[in-house]
């Protein structure tokens, strides 16, 4: 065996290692299901891009798409675990509603009384309280499911109505706005993105992480003399992942702030610098490059001049516009997905979740406290609903009591399209996030080409059924 050359014990041979795998896909050990979904996603994107005359695969649209996907994607990572344990949560949309309202009320009405408006900690305190409330509501539902034995379908159907009613009750129907300005960053938009430099930094860190974890996993298997993937396959997978990450950063960095917004900012800078004794060298260099008619306006950018200058700058093709970079809600999704993937695959809790889904009785006989695991899954779902509620409210910069309506269906559909088996025991976090992206791509693509809302719902419904049918066929042929 090749391990011997590396000074590894030959014991591996005595416990019977399988012969080296053949076939490229097998050697890569890539989830073919996930690959199929990526293919479908690509097909959808290219299709809409052709149908809209090249308006779909643009940095601007992909930026918006990723922001729109965030809230559902966060909840979908939790729904995977709920469904894997053979349960369901129909209440997530309503839970999102009540938590958004609660967080709205806390930051707009409660906290300002304590420490004034726009305190730097308002967003964090709000989010923490929201997550604690989410955990409590989740525990209530999970407790009834696990310890009182009421089917999750019924408990969360009840929750669907209860929490939506609660969402109205928090402010008696009043929409809460405006929200805290730092809190609003969680919703994306011009300010809610981290800019070009930070985006590259994030891309670099993630790339390093991919390399380190690949090496660590390989090292771990070597330590026990297990067969490892061929080196070229390992490099291939890591290379594709890194290319995807850096590609995403490139696209997000290719979406500059809108001209008018940049022009207004620039005019404000000019006025501020003029008021404090002269323009800075940087601004001066920029003014030097402006056309003459704009330069004359710069001297006194007030009143009518200000409006003309903003208009002129907006039309100036050389106006340097900073890039958006990675939207903050996408960073939140990435963080949540990483944590959830880790929980699902690397911890005892995750192992028990899947064991319960495969055979609840076996898990119990093996000494697993199945009730506590199911309770924990619902608690986790509640916490994720709070994070989604923050993203959704921040995106609208307001909390209304109808927020999250129909989200339960989007979330369940995302998990199911992402390969989670409703019979339990199978599902991946990455699949669910991808499922959420597929759903959102369809929806915004159809909106872009002007398909009526009613028809959009019908198509999405049909696609859901089609996706599950294809998956059923796939599962059959794999056996």
């Amino acid at each position: 065996m090749s391990h011997d050359a590396h000074g590894q014990p030959a014991a591996a041979a005595s416990v019977g290692l399988p012969s080296r795998k053949t076939g490229v896909l097998q050697a890569l050990e890539v989830d073919t299901r996930l690959l199929g979904m990526l293919g479908a996603l690509l097909l959808i994107w290219v299709g809409f891009d052709l149908a809209t005359g090249g308006q779909f695969i643009t940095p601007r649209n992909l930026f918006n798409l990723s922001v729109q996907t965030a809230s559902v994607a966060v909840m979908a990572t939790g729904m995977v675990l709920v469904i894997v344990t053979r349960n369901i949560d129909l209440s997530v949309g309503s839970l999102l509603g009540v938590l958004a309202m609660a967080m709205g009320a806390i930051q707009a009405e409660l906290l300002p009384q304590i420490w004034g408006l726009d305190h730097p900690l308002t967003w964090a305190a709000t989010l923490l309280v929201g997550m604690a409330l989410g955990a409590m509501f989740g525990a209530l539902q999970g407790g009834i499911v696990a310890y009182l034995g009421v089917p999750a379908f019924i408990v969360t159907l009840g929750g669907f109505l209860v929490w939506r009613g609660g969402a109205w009750w928090v402010t008696e129907g009043r929409t809460v706005a405006p929200l805290d300005s730092t809190f609003n960053l969680m919703g994306g938009g011009i300010d809610g993105a981290i800019g070009a430099t930070a985006s590259w930094a994030v891309g670099a860190v993630v790339s390093v992480y991919i390399v380190v974890s690949t090496v660590a996993a390989r090292h771990r298997r070597r330590r026990f003399s297990f067969p490892v993937k061929p080196l070229w396959a390992e490099l291939c997978v890591a290379g594709v992942l890194i290319a995807a990450v850096l590609g995403f950063v490139t696209v997000m960095n290719a979406y500059p702030h809108p001209e008018r917004r940049v022009a207004i900012d620039l005019v404000d800078t000019l006025r501020a610098e003029q008021a404090t004794g002269g323009l800075s060298a940087e601004t001066l260099a920029l003014v030097d490059r402006m056309p003459a008619e704009l330069q004359t306006l710069v001297a006194d950018p007030t009143g009518g001049n200000r409006r003309a200058l903003i208009r002129g700058l907006s039309d100036w093709p050389e106006l340097p516009r900073p890039a958006h970079g990675i939207p903050i809600p996408v960073l939140i999704v990435a963080g949540v997905a990483l944590v959830m993937h880790f929980l699902a695959t690397r911890t005892r809790f995750g192992r028990y979740v899947f064991a319960i889904g495969g055979n609840p009785e076996a898990a119990q006989l093996a000494g697993v406290n199945t009730k506590r695991v199911i309770l924990s899954v619902f608690v986790l779902m509640g916490v994720l609903c709070a994070i989604s509620a923050a993203i959704a409210a921040a995106r609208l910069q307001a909390a209304g009591n109808d927020l999250g309506t129909l989200d339960e269906l989007r979330v369940i559909a995302a998990a199911v399209i992402g390969g989670t088996a409703l019979s339990g025991g199978f599902g991946t976090v990455a699949g669910a996030v991808l499922g959420a992206l597929v759903m959102q791509s369809l929806q915004s693509g159809m909106a872009t080409i002007g398909i009526q809302t009613a028809l959009q719902s019908m198509i999405i419904g049909a696609v859901l059924v089609l996706a599950v049918w294809i998956d059923t066929l796939y599962q059959k042929t794999r056996k």
């Binding site: 416990v15 019977g16 911890t347 005892r348 055979n359 006989l365 093996a366």
Partner: protein, 271 residues
């Protein structure tokens, strides 16, 4: 045998489900290195009795002693701390996870960072599976993809890996071919030599008669009697199973049929 302390002693065990007395005042004991065949028709209460020992059911009445000390068993986890391991008739495997994950389910090996040490678990699984089933290779496949015999090996591996002192095997060969049945028999003899006490549950006398040192027969939730296998014939034991008739070599229990009952069934009277 009388001088050794029993490994396990179950005294006067009872349990009922919704008014049905599934097990009624059954007392049995098991000695180190002994194979006790627990026999009876389907529904005689064998599996139910043993589930009280393995912690799957909580007994309504009765006491369990392990090595002479009273044991409090109210969950499968409790039973395992007393060294009681069970191989269930259904195997109790989670089909969607691999052999190592099943083997260590509930007793995972954890890295210093608190995460699952899958590599260590796979290594241990390779070792124990090699002993039981040297041809076994499917370490990264879910248990669903395994054959009946391979699944059985995983269930047995799970029971013996954690240094069981008392092993409960519920119909261990029901789903196996002759070759695999032979393997299980060899394994039982090997474990017996190591001083492990084994409960062998079956509704088929042929499965257990040659392996067991003693048989205990249940009928309608009661103990008909126990007998050393060298003091009774297969026919005698069949008589115990079918009509509850206790032969001369056996120790009768509360479930043994009286002479009057036997006369009513037309069976020959007791000696």
């Amino acid at each position: 045998m009388t001088e050794t302390m029993p490994l396990v002693e179950m005294r006067d065990m009872s349990i009922s489900f919704g008014g049905v007395q599934a097990v009624d005042g059954v007392s049995v004991s098991l000695f180190p290195g002994e194979v006790l065949g627990l026999l009876g028709h389907n529904g005689a209460g064998k599996s139910t009795l043993i589930k009280m020992l393995s912690g799957a059911y909580r007994a309504d009445g009765g006491r369990i002693f392990v090595n002479g000390a009273e044991a409090d068993i109210s969950s499968p986890r409790d039973a395992k701390t007393y060294g009681i391991e069970t191989i269930y008739q259904t195997l109790a495997l989670a089909d969607n996870i691999d052999a190592a994950a099943n083997l260590f389910l509930g007793r995972e090996i954890i890295t210093p960072w608190g995460t699952l040490d899958d590599a260590a678990m796979e290594a241990a699984t390779r070792k124990v599976m090699h002993r039981l089933n040297p041809n076994f290779q499917k370490f990264d496949a879910p248990v669903r993809a395994l054959s009946g015999g391979q699944r059985q090996s995983v269930a047995i591996a799970r029971a013996i890996h954690f240094n069981a002192k008392i092993l409960i095997m519920d119909e261990p060969t029901a789903a196996l071919g002759p070759q695999e049945t032979k393997q299980v028999a060899d394994l039982i003899l090997q474990l017996k030599r190591e001083g492990i006490g084994i409960f062998l549950i079956s509704h088929d006398i042929h499965d257990v008669f040659d392996l067991a040192d003693r048989v205990a027969v249940m009928k309608n939730g009661k103990l008909v009697g126990t007998a050393p296998t060298d003091a009774v014939s297969k026919d005698d034991v069949l008589g115990m199973i079918i009509i509850g008739k206790c032969p001369p070599g056996a120790t009768p229990g509360p479930g043994a049929a009286s002479e009057a009952e036997l006369a009513a069934t037309g069976a020959p009277a007791l000696h």
